[in-house]
Amino acid sequence: MRVTRRRLIGSAAAGAAALAAPAAIGAARPHVVVIGGGAGGATAARYLARDGKGAIAVTLVEPTRTYHTCFFSNLYLGGFRTLESIAHSYGRLAAMGINVVHDWAVGIDRDTRTVALAGGGSLGYDRLIVAPGIDFRWDSVPGHGIAAQNAMPHAWKAGSQTELLKAQIASMPEGGVFAMVAPPNPYRCPPGPYERVSMVAHQLSRTNPTAKIMIFDPKPKFSKQALFEEGWAAHYPGMIEWLEPDFGGRIDEVRPDAMEIVSDGEAVKVDVANVIPAQKAGRIAEIAGLADASGFCPIVPATMQSRMDPAVHVLGDATIAGDMPKSGFSANSQAKVAAMAVRAALTGSTAFPPRFSNTCWSLIATGDGVKVGARYEATEEKIAKTEGFISQTGEDAELRRQTYEESLGWYAGITADIFG
């Protein structure tokens, strides 16, 4: 161990020497462009600016001025959070010297290393970080589509969609039906749909206790299933019906005009339909040729570099991250690995071994929180899980309450880590 430490210190010193060189000859600062100011992109920009201590120029391209976190958006639906409390802006990132450009990236020319912006401008880069999150496969649910997203909202990108869904839940008739069409794997936030159902049930049990919830699921099992099912039985008895694929879960089509969901040839009339389509990497990744046939982007685990182009790093939900789930926590963790690799490549700073981890909390009812988490390592082939843990069924109320309190601490911590 002592040897290891000496080696690390030694290489840090070597790194510092390499760093000094370009500054001495007064070379222009290397420029990193980050596309996407979400959990992954904003973290990467912040760590590059902070740890680079001015040696790297950082531009963050993000169309929205206010980012609503998907994490805790279910708690907003459940009445535990306000929308304002999950809204974040880019002021502190700008204040630390990051050039925040509110625009869409519409093209990436990987040969000339330039990013084209919707507003007409373009940005050259030495390294590019692409973290656009997800886009939907609009054709994955027959009858649904981009034009139907207001009648049958996904609310799988937070903000106006989430507000819309909440309003629809509030105006459900007494004893009405809330239906969710759950997404197939892989998708953003594996426990998310089931946390959402819990939060909708919590809300309905207070305002509309005879209402029903149906989940049409294309998957035969889901994340934290035993924990959710235990919680639903305890807190919302008789309210939630989960339909697995072979028993009505696999749907034929949705009919937004009639507010119907058709499965096994039978149309079910519903009052609210939360349709969460299948997913793929954000479109810009596809346009730039960074995604493969799966729709997501293959990466080199140790550095998060694109397998298509070593000058590009891809982060977060857009990637094929091996055993790591698509979560805000994962995106934040991957961003730090990428930022370190980029910094090392551009300034010669030390590249320490990458460290990946994730924990996802879910709220089932008031004070009833559960969690699942793991650590990962970068192998040649993928980001591979090394060990993990999950809350147990039958845990006492005290532990569940504490788990919930922890999730509040985590939300405050990670959003400070992402946005400053």
Partner: protein, 242 residues
């Protein structure tokens, strides 16, 4: 423990059996490698704050009857510190093993414990005292010997580990993993602050997770993956953050 010591313990048991809580002691104390008679003498270290036995009430500290198998921070009517309540909620349960750790250095197990007690450095003394406390617990009837996976009995963080000088630059990198949950500003909104701690306390706390003395699964996982050098580096880095 030698055969002679066992014999003495058995004798002590037989003597104790004449006392008020005879049936309890007879089949229970067997499993604990300690001399309860000697432990009775050490009880004076606790007496100023805790009561034990018939009619014991909460005093400065909670009463210690039925301590074995009891979840930490669960005596009714006693106001525990926030950290002891957290540990109890996490699942900390009093057994011979956890008592060894707590009595050796209370803060290594529960950072903000209100028990102002320096600790008992000698393992044999702790064992004797624990054997004595055991007499006042009816359950569990059997205390199994430490399971093969159980944490080591000796909670000490070796002086050599405490002496490792951490590299704060490496600590700063490693801290990236921590600040997803622990705010760099030191604010506690549900996850405790870890900034500005004396390095010794920081190292001791992380080793208490690494050794699985502290029950929290997230922190066990995280600390379990940190080497002694890395823990020292983190301690050095967070020491300087405020």
């Amino acid at each position: 423990m030698g055969a002679l010591r066992l014999l003495l313990t058995a004798l002590a048991l037989a003597l104790a059996a004449a006392g008020a809580r005879a049936e309890l002691a007879a089949d229970a104390v067997h499993d604990l490698p300690g001399d309860p008679e000697r432990g009775a003498g050490l009880w004076r270290l606790c007496q100023s704050c805790h009561a034990l036995g018939e009619g014991a009430r909460n005093r400065v500290g909670p009463h210690l009857n039925e301590l074995f198998g009891r979840r930490a921070a669960t005596v009714a009517g006693y106001r525990y510190s926030k950290d002891m309540r957290r540990a109890g909620a996490d699942g900390l349960t009093w057994t011979a093993d956890t008592l060894h750790v707590y009595l050796e250095n209370p803060r290594s197990l529960v950072t903000g414990t209100r028990m102002a007690f320096r600790g008992i450095p000698e393992e044999a003394d702790r064992a004797d005292l624990i054997a004595y406390l055991r007499r006042f617990s009816a359950s569990p009837r059997d205390i199994p010997e430490a399971a093969p996976t159980a944490p080591p009995r000796d909670p000490d963080v070796a002086p050599a580990i405490l002496a490792i000088e951490g590299d704060p630059a490496y600590g700063e990198y490693l801290a990236g993993e921590c600040v997803t949950c622990h705010q760099a500003s030191g604010t506690d909104e549900g996850i405790p602050s870890i900034t500005g701690w004396p390095e010794r306390d920081f190292v001791t706390a992380l080793h208490a997770y690494k050794n699985r003395h502290r029950p929290h699964p997230v922190m066990q996982l995280i600390a379990g993956n940190l080497s002694e050098e890395e823990i020292a580096a983190l301690a050095a880095f967070f020491r300087g953050v405020d």
